[in-house]
């Protein structure tokens, strides 16, 4: 029996290998595009572009490509990137009105500026080098100053606070990076249709950048093939999230504005990108389920879903999906053409109101204290309304608790005193052991590395607010280290608040197609939110100060040196004789006074004036004066000559 099995195994392996090879060669690079539109409760519209490009496992990555961008593949090959996310964001995500507990916000609400994190597949000792090289490559690829993340003072290696647990993870963010169209264009270049065709043709730059929030994201992950000798596959996910304000003519303030794609973007979709495997437009309406009947079997019922008393859609959806908190209309844009462009519109007829699902706690961060010496950072977590309804509560020792991870990077010039960490729950100070479950601190080293604070709080479920404060001293930078606009202040990157026991996912009642957008929504994603960026004013020196200091010290030294030399070569006896002879000659009022004064200073009695003529004395004085003036003039002339010459 055993021998039989043994002889079978190689055969099976061979067979599976052959099947895999045959399958692998057939598998091609796939691209798909999708657009999700979602009216927001505060009369804005969210548009979420989603592009996914998959390269199957192959050995020719970085060399031969059909749809997948060669540049990205070469990046992955060269720096051995296992997973990476890069986001460019402008504006702040409004967690209260735009949602905080859905996959869209947990994945696409990003901190202002640039955020980059990457996990590498290299030995531990090479991770930092790979990171540095990667930042340079990306900064060239995306026309951004990502290379500033190269310096070890600007990135950190989170252990568990970030959500992805890996010791080869590096995280950095640049809050001050201005994001604009020069970053979007290279991002679009990675798409096979760029913005020439398909859904991405909607990206009219003025309308995109006029929005309240826009975040372009690039996420790539490698998929291990699991086969010996075969490289890994790459999944590249590119998303652009925009929050726009539709122009409204309606005077009623509680009426939701009606919009269409052409009014939002100023463009229409004239067909899908021919290279995309699927190209869909989704319209998500939240809080709509209560009004509708449960079954949508009949044609009339289905029709009612998209043309009813509340609103109507300008196009008939191809499918309607129900989800726990709302409806999802699916449109296929393959049918549209030049003569019949796809221009989805939503027309509201009645005022309607709904609210978004929110994260259990809403986070904000601010600075305390005044002056240029010290201050404190406080993070305030406030309970939201929807907190009670949310799943993910845990019972520890019979108490209901909410877990919250806080991850914060401090630049080295913010010298944080970790012992001053104070935690208040409902305005009452708590000891560390009561609420702090885990904490990981890596202090900063001056000019070498930034500090990092990771902590896990366990708050009781009925918490109304929780506050964390920590004090810091402001450091002094070397004169070379100040940025050009030092007086503007220095940014502290956003803190990341994540809720490890809460996961957001959209749960569709019907099992659905393999749309990459929907399947990414279906995956459970960690609920997270970023706080504001803080602006800390540091003491900025007068940058001409070094020269002032040099000049003053040098002058003092010169005075000291000169007087010392004079003392050394002074002939006191001779002077006394001279004074004596003068005193005998004349007793002018002022001169006498002066003589007396000098004598007093020297501590010698006034001697009788000698018989020398005062005329000679005064002429001597005047020649001395003239000589001095000439000397100074000469020096000034020399200075003028040298300074103008060069």
């Amino acid at each position: 029996m055993a021998s039989l099995v043994r002889s079978w195994i190689p055969l099976l392996i061979l067979q599976s290998f052959l099947v895999a090879v045959a399958f692998g060669s057939k598998e091609a690079e796939q691209f798909s595009e999708a657009l999700l539109l979602k009216p927001l409760p505060d009369r804005k519209v969210l548009a979420h572009f989603h592009f996914e490009n998959r390269a199957p496992p192959s050995n020719s990555h970085g060399r031969h490509h059909h749809l997948f961008p060669k540049a990205i593949s070469q990046l992955v090959q060269k720096f051995r990137v296992k997973e990476m996310e890069l986001s460019f964001t402008q504006g702040r995500w409004n967690h209260e009105h735009w949602g905080g507990f859905d996959p869209l916000s947990s994945m696409n609400a990003k901190p202002v500026g640039v955020e980059l994190w990457a996990v590498f597949d290299v030995p531990q000792s090479q991770v930092d080098t790979s990171w540095k090289n990667l930042t340079h490559a990306l900064s060239g690829l995306f026309c951004a100053s990502i290379n500033f993340l190269e310096s070890s003072t600007s990135y950190a290696a989170p252990t568990w606070g970030f959500g992805t647990n890996s010791d080869k993870l590096r995280y950095g963010s640049l809050p001050r990076e201005a994001v604009c169209t020069e970053n979007l264009t290279p991002w679009l270049k990675l798409l096979p249709c760029r913005d020439k065709d398909g859904i991405s043709a909607l990206m009219n730059r003025p309308s995109v950048y006029r929005g309240f929030y826009h975040s372009q994201r690039l996420h790539l992950s490698t998929v291990e093939s699991g086969q010996e000798g075969l490289g890994s596959g790459i999944v590249l996910e590119q998303t652009l999230t925009v929050v726009l304000q539709p122009e409204t003519t309606s005077v009623e303030t509680n009426m939701q504005p009606s919009w269409s794609l052409s009014s939002l973007f100023g463009r229409k979709v004239v067909g899908s990108c021919v290279l995309a495997k699927s190209s869909n437009v989704y319209l998500q309406l939240e809080g709509r389920l209560g009004h509708e009947s449960k079954n949508v079997d009949t044609e009339i019922e289905a029709h009612k879903l998209w043309k009813n008393a509340d609103f109507d859609l300008s196009l008939k959806p191809d499918r309607v999906l129900r989800e726990s908190s709302g409806l999802l209309f699916i449109f296929d844009i393959d049918k549209s053409s030049d003569s019949e462009p796809f221009d989805l519109g939503l027309n509201w007829k009645l005022p309607s109101k709904w609210s978004c699902q929110q994260a259990p706690l809403q986070a904000s961060r601010f600075l305390m204290g005044s002056g240029n010496e010290r201050g404190a950072i406080a993070i305030l977590l406030k309970a939201t309304e929807s907190q009670e309804k949310l799943p993910g509560r845990e019972l520890t020792d019979g108490r209901c608790t909410i877990k919250a991870n806080i991850f914060q990077i401090f630049p080295w010039y913010i010298k944080v005193y970790y012992h001053t960490l104070q935690i208040f729950v409902d305005q009452q100070q708590k000891t560390d052991s009561e609420v702090l479950k885990k904490i990981n601190v890596s202090p900063s080293t001056d000019k070498v590395s930034s500090g990092m604070l990771e902590m896990m709080l366990e708050l009781p479920c009925e918490v109304k607010s929780a506050a964390i404060s920590i004090e810091y001293d402001k450091g002094f930078l070397h004169i070379d280290e100040y940025p050009p606009d030092a007086n503007q202040g220095f940014d502290i990157p956003s803190a990341l608040i994540s809720f490890p026991s809460h996961h957001a996912s959209l749960d569709f009642q019907e099992e659905l197609s393999k749309s990459p957008l929907l399947s990414s929504f279906k995956e459970k994603s960690l609920v997270r939110s970023y706080t504001e960026v803080l602006l800390v004013p540091l003491t900025t020196p007068d940058f001409s100060m070094p020269y002032n200091v040099i000049t003053i010290t040098c002058t003092i030294f010169a005075l000291y040196f000169g007087s010392l030399l004079n003392v050394l070569r002074r002939r006191i006896g001779e002077e006394e004789r001279f004074l004596k002879s003068q005193a005998g000659k004349k007793t002018g009022g002022v001169k006498q006074l002066l003589l007396r004064l000098t004598a007093k200073i020297r501590g010698r009695p006034i001697e009788a004036p000698s018989s020398e003529s005062p005329a000679a004395e005064s002429s001597f004085l005047s020649t001395k004066l003239i000589f001095k003036i000439i000397l100074i003039a000469g020096a000034a002339a020399a200075w003028q000559y040298f300074s103008t010459d060069k």
């Binding site: 540049a71 290279l275 020269y547 040098c554 010169a558 070569r569 002939r571």
Partner: protein, 605 residues
């Protein structure tokens, strides 16, 4: 203090000692030296400090061997690099020819063709001639070079030679000359076979250049026309083996598309100008493995070649084309070519894999959209280009590939794959373009005033003698570029006195010079590959030194800065010291004069 008290004495005692003593003009004691000594010593210590100060504000400049750099560039300019080459001519079926006589005639012919000019990368020829008569006896010239091939007499049989395919003849010749030693340069052989005049009429002379380093001329009645034959032998050697069959005098160094780190990246792009009409894809992996791998392997001694490919969409060309009724196609002319490449829309992306200073050659296959299909290239003489492609030196090449039918059959575009036959054709055109980028001809026939030569193409893209030409030119080009780079570096360094030069740069320059010297000596000894590799090293080191990140770090510690920092201290202090020293000296002289007058007065008294 003591001195002052000393000096007080004479004034008090004067009345008693000398009645004629005048305290205003004389003094009785020697003037003291203490103060003069103090002030001068301070002055001198300041003066001594000046060199130290100068040293402290000096910036670090690694000493560069300027003299060696100049001598290298002078040497390369004045005496071009020449490689030893051996020519072995075998005359079969010649009755009454003296090999030494033939040798000198061939030498004359070669000298005439090269015009005695010695360009860089040419050959230092040594000729040996063997004559095999009808009785299969051989006469040889005395070997000047002991390592030349020895031809075993009688191996080539007069009337059986040259029968069959040229490829097999080439192989058989390779066997004949297999005993060649290659220590000192390459040996090229030309076999001239005088056949029996079987038909009685004058047969056409057939001249073939093989894939290796052999050529043969076959004909009948050659003995009578031997002057012509000798001219052809020397022409084969000079025009083909030495210059690679190029028309121009010499391909200038700039046209060597190899990066300074010795790498070439061949980036192939398939451009679908409008994917809404049709989408074409290719299986480039197979092409790479089957057709390009031998080429890259053959060129390995000259450059390290890597291949990548991509497919791009929505990439219209930026020139216009016009409809031609007669040809039933769209036409673009050679005058449009400068505008064909659309650098806005063709993001042929420089490869992240090609780091540093590798050379990237773009090869583009352009598939026209439905609006401009079929698209043909019209040559200036009105004919349609056979390859439908063009090259741009140092950039790459473009091939326009028209789909089989230009009708859009359906609304939705179909995804097609270019068939393997079409792909092979494309690769053939590409190989021709690639050869052109290296300066070779893409035709299999070389025509000169004396007749035509058939050139056997190699399946590896480049024949062995072409590779020899390339490696000679490459060595030469590398050395030339190394010397110009070092020359401009030395000029730059000499023109900027406040530029910091790190030791690293100095070392790179030193090693670059060393490698260049090594390449020169290897070349004169005939080591093709060793001289190519050391010349490549010399060039890349020179470029590394020139493009060193620290090279432009001109010191911020400028003269103005120096002046501003030091003048507040040194100007007043130096003023004090100089004045004090001057006054002390003046006073000393005055006092000394007083003392001297006193002395004279005393003497006279």
């Amino acid at each position: 203090m003591e001195e002052t008290s000393d000096r007080l004495n004479p004034t008090t005692d004067t009345s008693g000692v000398t009645p004629e003593f005048d305290p205003k003009t004389m003094r009785s004691t020697k003037p003291g030296l203490k103060r003069l000594f103090i002030t001068t010593s301070v002055l001198f210590s300041f003066l001594l400090g000046v060199p130290f100060l100068w040293k402290s504000v000096e910036i670090y400049r690694s000493p560069l061997p300027f003299h060696d750099i100049d001598s290298l560039s002078d040497q390369i300019e004045s005496t071009p690099l020449r490689f030893p080459c051996n020519l072995h001519a075998v005359f079969v079926g010649f009755e009454s020819k003296d090999p030494d006589n033939l040798r000198s005639q061939i030498q004359d012919g070669i000298n005439q063709l090269t015009h005695q000019s010695s360009q860089c990368g040419s050959c230092n020829v040594s000729i040996s001639v063997t004559v095999q008569n009808l009785a299969e006896q051989c006469l040889e010239t005395l070997a000047h070079n002991p390592s030349t091939c020895s031809y075993r007499c009688g191996v080539i049989i007069r009337n059986e030679f040259g029968v069959g395919l040229d490829d097999t003849v080439d192989e058989s010749l390779n066997d004949v000359f297999s005993g060649c030693s290659e220590n000192s340069g390459k040996t090229y052989s030309v076999v001239v076979v005088n056949k029996e005049n079987a038909n009685g009429e004058d047969e056409v002379i057939k001249a073939v250049v093989g894939k290796r380093r052999h050529a043969w001329v076959v004909g009948s009645g050659l003995e009578e026309r031997y002057g012509d034959i000798v001219a052809r032998v020397s022409e084969i050697f000079v025009k083909v083996f030495m210059n690679g069959g190029r028309d121009e005098e010499s391909i200038h160094g700039e046209f060597m598309p190899v990066g300074s780190d010795g790498k070439i990246v061949l980036s192939f792009s398939l451009l679908n100008s409008n994917p809404r009409d049709w989408v074409y894809d290719w299986d480039f992996q197979r092409i790479d493995d089957a057709l390009l791998a031998p080429v890259t392997k053959a060129l390995a001694p000259i450059a390290n070649i890597s291949v990548e490919s991509q497919v791009l969409y929505h990439t219209p060309k930026s020139s216009f084309s016009s409809w031609d009724e007669k040809l039933q196609s769209y036409i673009f002319r050679t005058s449009d070519l400068p505008f064909f490449v659309n650098s806005n829309e063709w993001h042929l992306d420089t490869s992240a894999g090609a780091s540093g200073r590798s050379k990237i050659l773009q090869f583009v296959v352009y598939i026209p959209s439905g609006k401009e299909c079929p698209l043909l290239l019209q040559l200036p003489n009105g004919e349609i280009s056979k390859t439908n492609g063009f090259i741009s030196p140092m950039w790459g090449g473009v091939i326009v590939w028209n789909p089989e039918s230009c009708d859009k059959d359906s609304e939705s575009p179909i995804r097609n794959t270019i068939s393997p036959q079409d792909l092979e054709q494309i690769v053939e055109i590409f190989l021709g373009q690639f050869r052109q980028l290296f300066g070779f001809k893409s035709e299999a026939i070389y025509t000169s005033g004396l007749g035509t030569y058939k050139i056997l193409p190699s399946e590896r893209g480049f024949t062995e003698w072409e590779l020899d030409v390339l490696s000679r030119k490459h060595t030469c080009f590398n050395l030339h570029s190394c010397s110009t780079t070092l020359g401009s570096l030395s000029r730059l360094v000499r023109s900027l006195p406040r530029m910091i030069i790190k030791d690293e740069i100095g070392e790179q320059v030193k090693y670059s010079l060393k490698a260049a010297k090594l390449a020169q000596s290897n070349a004169s000894l005939g080591g093709y590959s060793s001289s190519a590799s050391s010349s490549r090293e010399a060039r890349s080191l020179a470029e590394n030194a020139f493009f060193h990140p620290s090279i432009m770090s001109v010191s911020y510690f400028s003269y103005e800065h120096c002046f501003a920092v030091y003048s507040p201290f040194f100007l007043p202090v130096v003023g004090h010291i100089v004045l004090a020293a001057f006054r002390e000296w003046k006073r000393y002289r005055q006092e000394k004069a007083k003392y001297l007058t006193w002395l004279t007065r005393k003497k006279t008294a």
